[in-house]
Every structure is written in structure tokens, then in C-alpha cells.
């Protein structure tokens, strides 16, 4: 069959003619309709990583505590006492742009399944979100829908949403970023890998029935959006968190059965992707009969069954003889468990509908055969530093910044999320990082997501390093030692040379920063083609990071704790206004270099803070990030509901930079006066600049001669509604 004849079909699965010819070469004939659909799904950017795979090879993925790196449903790291933390972050940008509630909800649902497929009980959700300015109704609609969808799913499921971030920028108008991270816990001996390693094992499809929703979802997520995208609404799945809760409990019980050999989530590309990956990882083949799949509606053909992205489904592999035990568990939860196939000794996936074979393909071609793309890359033009307006009326600037959408309190959002269920939340949303108790132990897990896309837009290499450094600093400020990283790379259309260059530079920055800080990357996701009507989003790598606190008694808060405590700045302030919130607020165009990232200095700072927290020296610690020093001080005052007196902040930089520069590797801490000698000794030992700023106390926030505001006024600005 000629390629030209199938052009419409190729467009439906977003493959190009060269890829079609590659398929024909690999399988030695023209593919059937079902086969073409399967190739389309698995060779999509979303599943096949055909553009990003060569870049991702440079990421460090190994470390002493890593139990499972990338390539499984989620990564896993040892946290002692025989336990492992399992986590991953994933994007749901395209669906959320079309149907924000269900797009975000199923994003949460998908990442929860990735974690309980590993045998782990999900204990926390975090979300990293970006939208266009809320003045535009469309953006507001997307924002409200996404927040409601995250809450709607997580609250009903019963997993606390403990953290995340949200930023607003014109660059995300009509193309929001919705990344969801899930963290779970499992005993080492119960950690699951999803691989079919023995012929004869029985393949069960469990959970929800299969419907026509979400067909071509993976394909849809791999092309740019345009004015016709709303017609793709059928490609967006609909979530059922109640069913997912039952499925989770059932899978956690399954995980205790010796007869169960693998559990695999059905996500993008549904049964096709899940089954093929399961078999290919174990170097086995698979025989599937789609006639045995429970359906939501009549008349579905094999193509639809294989490509449906109906939610709340899992594949389970069972040793022969274990079928009844599996069925008993699913009967208890009143869920379907259909035996739909068997593992074979070959290396092919065969799909039948009853006796009729509708697809018979070599797995290697489907999974690894995708021709990799290496688009042209062109560095962005170097932008000139912007002129920095002089600081006038510091109080007004401070209040404007504190009330700005990017810096104001996130309470109106997170109070719509259950952040306490499961009784482990020690520090909830609104701080540097969330801190959760590891049940049954005195250990804590600190969790955060970070990514300042203004820095990345100015310099993707440095900006991505800054995201890694800031995430680690956030964890350290709670007293936790950073353990490992998950990441979600959200970029525009990689066929555009400047976008591909952004991606290249960003991955290089990610790799270098993680190496310098000894942080393995154990899972991740890439979301490309975030382009709407020809406009690309700002490059947005999001870093999810997990840290461990050996003793929860050593935890540290971000807010000031006690009147009379002394406040210090750790680290050096430089004249670094590029990408700052100050300039954004002043309406100055983004330009110049972002703040420098010195990973050696970052490492020293973090060691110094951990040295302090382990010895109980600190009363509070808060990372200096967006908005700079004065914003960090205001946040510590607001979080602790205590005033501050800083007679003068001195330094060798301009007045603006003293207050609002966003120099990296800095933190604001407070200590009780008698611990100051220890603080000085520790900072001296680590070579960290220590600058006394002021004293905690009173009802006012005073900094230098020009800021003196009642705490209530500060709070009013900070708690501006969205």
C-alpha cells in the first residue's frame, strides 16, 4: 500500500511518512489499522521520547540509595528501616488546556496509579502549575478548573495534596502547565517491578471498564494546540477517583500475594503501551484477546479497545494457579478482573479478537524502533540587561510584590485541597517544603517542586541549575537531606530550533546540577509541543525533589518562632536583578543574565544549614528566592505571625539589589541569642557569609529606614484573593 494513500490515517496518529516507511521496513509489510494505531501511540513523542531520548541519556540516574531508576512506573529510593520512597512527576498539559477539570483530575489519577503500581501506598501529591494572567477570562477558567480538578480527585481518593507551586505569565495563556507529582511508601521486599519474565503467566486487566474515552490521547499530547483543539475534547479522559481508591486498595492487597508477578498502570496509549512495555521489559511476548475486555459501551472495535485511555485500569500478571486469589480480592472490592491474555516465550505481541488476529508485531520495533529525531538547535539571541528602575517608596514596592499573583499567599488554593488525610502532615503547604512523617517511624520526608521559568527563559542552562539548587535548598530549610530528583520537562515545539536548543541546554543544566549536588534522577517525564497557535510556552523544567529527615525532632520551620530571636542572612548578595520579581512587577521586559548559580557555594550553604539543624541551632530557616531578601523576611514574619526589626541592611550593592536581588545560595534564619556563637562557628567552618539583620518581635515589619508596616497590613496584601 502506498504511503500517500494513508496520509489521513498518518495524520490521525501523528506519524510522518518517513516513520511509516520505517514501520514497513521493520515489520516487512504494511501495518494493519490496529497495528498502525499501536505504532502511532508508542512512537508518539509522549510515549516514545523520540526527540528527548538522546538528551536524557546524560542524566545521572544512579546513587547509593537508588532502588529503582527511570524506566519503571516510578523511581524508588531507600529511606532506611526497610522502607523505600517511590515517586514520579508527570504532565497533563494538553488535556488541561482543553478540559481543565478532567485534564487535571486525570493527571492526578495517572500519577497515583504509577505509584501504587510499584506496590507503594501513595502518601502525598504535589502540583506544579502555570497559567496566563488571570485578568483574561480564559486563563481564569483554566486556573479555576485545574485547581478544582486536582482537589476533586485527590480529596475523594484520600491522598493529601501537600505542596507544589503556581505561577502566572503571559507566555502560558491558553497553554497551562499542569504537572502532578505523587510520593508513596513501600517495604523493600514489596517493591514491584512491572516486567513479564515468565511465559505462561496470566495477564489480567483490572479496575474500570474500557470505553471510548481518551483514544489518541498520547498522540494528541504530542502535537501543538490550535483553534481546532477544542474538537479534540474526546481525547481527554474522564476520571473516577472513587474507583481509583478501590483499585488502589485492591492493588495493595494484590501486592502481598506471592503469585502476582507484576502490576502495570494503564496511562497514555492505554492497553497498547502498558502491555507492550510490560512484556518488553521482561524480554517476553504477549498474546491478548480483546474480546475478553469488559467494555463500557457496545460496538467497540479492537482498535478502540487497544487505544482507549479509560482511566482507573491496571494490568496484573499472575502465575498460573493464582487466578482465584486475584479474583477473590477484586470480588471483595466489586471490581472487574478480566483474564485477557498470556505471556509467551516469543518477542512479539499478538492481539486477537476471538480467533481473528488483528495485530502481530515485534515488541522491539514498537518500543525501541522509533527513529530518533535530532532537530536543529539554534541558541536564543542574548538579551541585553534591562535598566533597573531605582528604588523609590520601598513600602509600596513591597506591598505590590507581596500582593502580586506570583508571590501572594497560596492559601486560597491549598485550603481547597485536603492536605492532612492519612495523619502524617507535619508541615503542610505554604512553606519551603512539605514535611511528612513516615508512619510508624520518627523519620520525616520533605517534598518540594520548583522551577523559575523566567531564569530558564534567560538562560536555560543556568535557569535549570537554579531550579535544582532551589529545590534542594527548600528541603534543607526543613532540616532534610536531599535524596533524589524527579523532573518534568515542559517545552514548546522542538521542531523550532530555539525551542530545541532550550531543551538541550536545560537537560545539560539538569545533569550538571544533579551531579554537583549528588542527586540521582529516578523518574521523570517530558512534555513537548506546548505550542498554541504558533506561540511556544516559556521553557519550563520542573524539579520534584524528596529529602529525608532522620529525626523529626530536628525539623525546622520557615516562620519566625520566638520574639527576641536574632535574624541573619546566610550567603552573598550580588547585583543580580535579571529575571527578578522586582523587574517583572515594574513592568520591565525580561532581559539580561539570570542570577549566577555557584553549585559549590550552594553545597556549602546546604551542608552548613544541615549542620545547624542537626545540632538544634536554628529556630527558623527560609530560602531566599523569588522577590529576594525583603520578601523572604516578610514571609518568615507572616508565617510565624511575628514582627521584625531590621535597623539597616548594609552591603556593597545598590539599594534595590540589597532588598530585591535574587542572588542564589542564600537563606534567612533565626536563632536564639545564646546560640549565636555556635552559628558563627558553623558558618565559619563552611565558609558561609553570615550577616546579622535584626530581631524578631513586635507588631510591625521594619526594614531599614524606609519600610515600617504593621504586620496586619503586610498580611492583607499577602492574602489578596486570586
Amino acid at each position: 500500500m502506498a504511503v500517500a494513500i494513508r496520509r489521513a490515517e498518518l495524520e490521525a496518529v501523528a506519524l510522518d511518512e518517513a516513520e511509516y516507511r520505517a514501520i514497513v521496513r521493520l515489520i516487512g509489510r504494511d501495518p494493519s489499522d490496529v497495528e498502525l494505531g499501536m505504532f502511532g501511540a508508542l512512537w508518539s513523542e509522549h510515549c516514545g521520547y523520540k526527540t528527548s531520548k538522546p538528551l536524557l541519556r546524560q542524566l545521572p540516574t544512579e546513587g547509593p540509595g537508588v532502588l529503582q531508576g527511570p524506566g519503571e512506573n516510578a523511581g524508588a529510593v531507600d529511606i532506611g528501616e526497610g522502607l523505600a520512597v517511590v515517586f514520579k512527576i508527570e504532565s497533563h498539559n494538553h488535556p488541561s488546556a482543553i478540559e481543565p477539570y478532567e485534564g487535571a483530575a486525570t493527571g492526578v489519577g495517572g500519577i497515583l496509579r504509577d505509584v501504587f503500581a510499584m506496590g507503594a501506598r501513595p502518601i502525598a501529591i504535589l502540583d506544579s502549575l502555570r497559567f496566563g494572567p488571570l485578568e483574561r477570562n480564559r486563563n481564569r477558567h483554566l486556573f479555576m478548573g485545574v485547581v478544582a480538578g486536582i482537589g476533586g480527585y485527590g480529596n475523594c481518593f484520600g491522598c493529601p495534596t501537600v505542596g507544589g507551586e503556581v505561577y502566572f505569565d503571559e507566555g502560558y495563556s491558553d497553554n497551562p502547565i499542569v504537572n502532578a507529582m505523587c510520593v508513596g511508601l513501600v517495604r523493600h521486599d514489596r517493591l514491584r517491578r512491572a516486567r513479564a519474565d515468565r511465559a505462561g503467566d496470566v495477564l489480567f486487566l483490572v479496575g474500570a471498564d474500557t470505553g471510548r474515552d481518551g483514544i489518541h490521547g498520547a498522540t494528541f499530547a504530542s502535537v501543538e494546540l490550535d483553534d481546532r483543539s477544542h474538537t479534540r475534547r474526546p481525547a481527554v479522559q474522564v476520571g473516577n477517583p472513587f474507583l481509583e481508591k478501590l483499585l488502589c486498595e485492591a492493588c495493595l492487597q494484590l501486592n502481598e500475594l506471592e503469585e502476582v508477578t507484576a502490576i502495570q498502570d494503564l496511562g497514555a496509549a492505554g492497553l497498547t503501551s502498558a502491555a507492550c512495555e510490560l512484556a518488553h521489559r521482561g524480554h517476553r511476548g504477549l498474546d491478548i484477546d480483546v474480546a475478553r475486555v469488559s467494555r463500557r459501551e457496545r460496538g467497540m472495535n479492537p482498535y478502540e479497545v487497544m487505544l482507549s485511555e479509560s482511566q482507573e485500569r491496571m494490568l496484573v500478571l499472575v502465575r498460573p494457579g493464582g487466578e482465584d486469589a486475584v479474583r477473590r480480592i477484586f470480588d471483595h472490592f466489586e471490581l472487574h478482573a478480566d483474564a485477557i491474555g498470556t505471556v509467551t516465550s516469543g518477542d512479539r505481541v499478538r492481539v486477537r479478537e476471538g480467533e481473528a488476529v488483528v495485530a502481530d508485531l515485534p515488541l522491539a520495533a514498537l518500543i525501541d524502533g522509533v527513529p530518533l529525531r535530532s532537530p536543529a538547535a539554534r541558541p536564543a539571541d542574548v538579551s541585553l540587561p534591562s535598566l533597573v528602575p531605582a528604588l523609590e517608596q520601598a513600602e509600596t514596592v513591597l506591598l505590590d510584590l507581596l500582593s502580586s499573583p506570583n508571590l501572594r499567599s497560596r492559601r486560597p488554593i491549598y485550603r481547597t485541597y485536603d492536605h492532612q488525610v492519612q495523619d502524617n502532615t507535619v508541615i503542610g503547604p505554604g512553606s519551603d517544603a512539605a514535611l511528612l512523617r513516615v508512619p510508624g517511624t520518627n523519620r520525616g520526608l520533605a517534598l518540594t517542586t520548583d522551577g523559575n521559568s523566567r531564569y530558564v527563559a534567560l538562560d536555560p542552562y543556568v535557569g535549570t541549575q537554579a531550579a535544582v539548587a532551589e529545590a534542594a535548598r527548600n528541603l534543607v530549610c526543613t532540616g532534610a537531606r536531599p535524596l533524589a530528583v524527579t523532573n518534568c520537562l515542559n517545552f514548546g515545539n522542538p521542531q523550532r530550533p530555539h525551542v530545541f536548543w532550550q531543551l538541550q541546554e536545560s537537560v545539560r543544566g539538569l545533569a550538571d546540577a544533579c551531579r554537583a549536588l549528588d542527586l540521582p534522577i529516578v523518574s521523570g517525564n517530558v512534555s513537548l509541543y506546548n505550542e498554541t497557535n504558533g506561540r511556544n510556552i516559556p521553557p519550563t523544567p520542573v524539579i520534584g525533589m524528596v529529602g529525608l529527615l532522620d529525626d523529626l525532632g530536628e525539623r525546622c520551620q520557615a516562620g519566625f518562632q520566638e520574639d527576641g530571636d536574632l535574624v541573619f542572612l546566610l550567603g552573598e548578595t550580588r547585583d543580580e536583578m535579571g529575571g527578578s520579581a522586582y523587574l517583572q512587577q515594574a513592568g520591565v521586559e525580561l532581559g539580561g543574565p539570570p542570577p549566577r548559580v555557584d553549585l559549590a557555594a550552594e553545597r556549602r550553604l546546604q551542608s552548613a544549614i544541615l549542620n545547624c539543624t542537626r545540632n538544634g541551632v536554628l529556630r527558623s530557616a527560609h530560602d531566599v528566592a523569588d522577590g529576594g531578601l525583603v520578601i523572604a523576611l516578610a514571609e518568615s514574619a507572616l508565617l510565624g505571625s511575628r514582627g521584625l526589626r531590621c535597623p539597616a541592611i548594609v552591603g556593597a550593592v545598590s539599594a534595590v539589589a540589597l532588598y530585591f536581588s535574587e542572588s542564589q545560595a542564600r537563606a534567612v534564619i533565626s536563632v536564639t541569642p545564646r546560640r549565636v556563637p555556635e552559628l558563627q562557628a558553623i558558618m565559619g567552618h563552611h565558609g558561609i557569609l553570615l550577616q546579622a539583620l535584626g530581631v524578631v518581635g513586635g507588631d510591625a515589619f521594619q526594614v531599614g529606614p524606609d519600610i515600617r508596616l504593621p504586620l496586619d497590613v503586610l498580611r492583607q496584601a499577602w492574602e489578596t484573593a486570586f
Partner: protein, 228 residues
């Protein structure tokens, strides 16, 4: 009690067993008998996905007959959040819980004034004591028709009201629009309590406070008195 979709079951068991050291076990929604139980807790969650109406399907669960019978014989029953909604749907407590006035889910710490110390669940509280306990719900807006409300008030069945930290019961302290700032009510006999806030989330200093423990301790004390 574990209905499909219940999720505070493990938190309640943690509070009762790990924190208070009392034996606890999970009861399946299909159970027909309760056997050796002294206190039944209907925990929070989204039983049956909150389909139709919160608690509307759970009331038909086979176990409900046994629970009603247990309460009729004086057994202690505590409904928390979704459990409160189930008790209302099962007509074990009056009134209804509507969508929050804000139309949004709310998860935050609130203050509760103890209005009644005669029931089984507040004997360890002082009258007008203020308890700090979190809420987490989208449908906690207590409503009852004027007659029912008057009867609840007259009968001393209102157990908790949302209040300010100093105990003032004012509109600003009301997180969901509940009539009379009502956060929890009991039956006439005082052995069945329904409340929207989650006491099981306020049982450890590490997690922000221990005021919720008082409610479980009161129940334990009430049972000990009966036994003695």
C-alpha cells in the same frame, strides 16, 4: 466502619489504637453483626464516591441495620465528616449537610466551642471549652428546618459550634455557612454524635494539636463508667 470510598478509617484506627492504646478493628460494610464492639466510628471519606448525595448510598449498606440496632441499645456511635452525613441519611441524626456556602472544599484548622458536656463524647471537656480541630469537607453546611433546629437547641443536642479562638460564636468563624455555626450534634440520648471536623487529625502534637483526643478519651471514659 469501612464503606467503599471511606478514607479516614486508618486515621481513626491510628488515633484509637496507636495513640490511645485501645483495641480497634475494621468493620466491612457488608457485615450483618457487630459482635464485641463498644464504639462504632463512621469515618470520613467519600463513601460510594458521594454519588447521588453524600451518604445517600451508604445508608443502604447491610451493616447499617446492625448499627441502628446497636445505637438503639445504647451503643456509642461517632460519625465524622462523611460519617456524619451517613448518620443523617440513615435518620439517626436530624438535619442535612449542604454544599459549603463558599461552594468550595475547605481543609483548615477551626475552633469549636463545646456546647454540651453531658453526651458520651464530651464528658472530658469543660463547658464552653474551645477545641482546635481541622475540617476537610465540601458539604458541611448544617441545615435543619426551623422546628427541628429549635428542638435541637432546646434539647441541648448541639455539641459543637464554630467559634473564634476566644470562644465567640460569630459569622467570621463559620467556615461553611452552617445554621447557628453548628459543627456537631448528638441524639437525645447522647450516645450518637455526628461532627464535621476531624478529631482523629488532632491527636498528636507533631501534627499540630491534641484537642481531638479529648473526644476519643471521653468515649473511653464513658464506656469505662458503664463497665464499672
Amino acid at each position: 466502619m469501612v464503606f467503599p470510598g471511606t478514607w479516614s478509617d486508618r486515621d481513626c484506627a491510628h488515633a484509637v489504637a496507636d495513640v490511645l492504646g485501645q483495641p480497634a478493628r475494621f468493620i466491612d460494610h457488608r457485615a450483618r453483626r457487630l459482635d464485641d464492639v463498644d464504639l462504632v466510628i463512621l469515618p470520613g471519606g467519600f463513601s460510594y464516591g458521594d454519588h447521588l448525595r453524600c451518604g445517600a448510598i451508604a445508608r443502604f449498606a447491610p451493616v447499617m441495620e446492625a448499627i441502628i440496632d446497636f445505637a438503639d441499645r445504647g451503643g456509642l456511635v461517632l460519625g465524622i465528616c462523611n460519617g456524619f452525613q451517613v448518620l443523617q441519611e440513615a435518620r439517626m441524626l436530624p438535619g442535612a449537610l449542604l454544599k459549603n456556602a463558599s461552594c468550595q472544599f475547605r481543609c483548615e484548622w477551626v475552633n469549636l466551642r463545646v456546647e454540651q458536656t453531658d453526651g458520651a463524647f464530651t464528658t472530658e471537656c469543660r463547658p464552653a471549652q474551645v477545641l482546635r480541630i481541622p475540617i476537610s469537607h465540601g458539604e458541611g453546611n448544617f441545615y435543619a428546618d426551623p422546628q427541628t433546629l429549635a428542638a435541637l437547641e432546646a434539647g441541648g443536642q448541639v455539641v459543637f459550634r464554630y467559634c473564634m479562638p476566644d470562644g465567640r460564636v460569630v459569622e467570621d468563624a463559620n467556615p461553611n455557612g452552617s445554621l447557628g455555626n453548628i459543627a456537631g450534634i448528638m441524639n437525645r440520648r447522647g450516645n450518637v454524635l455526628g461532627m464535621m471536623p476531624h478529631p482523629e487529625r488532632a491527636c498528636e502534637t507533631l501534627l499540630g494539636g491534641t484537642d481531638g483526643l479529648t473526644i476519643f478519651q471521653s468515649a473511653v471514659r464513658a464506656l469505662q463508667r458503664v463497665a464499672a
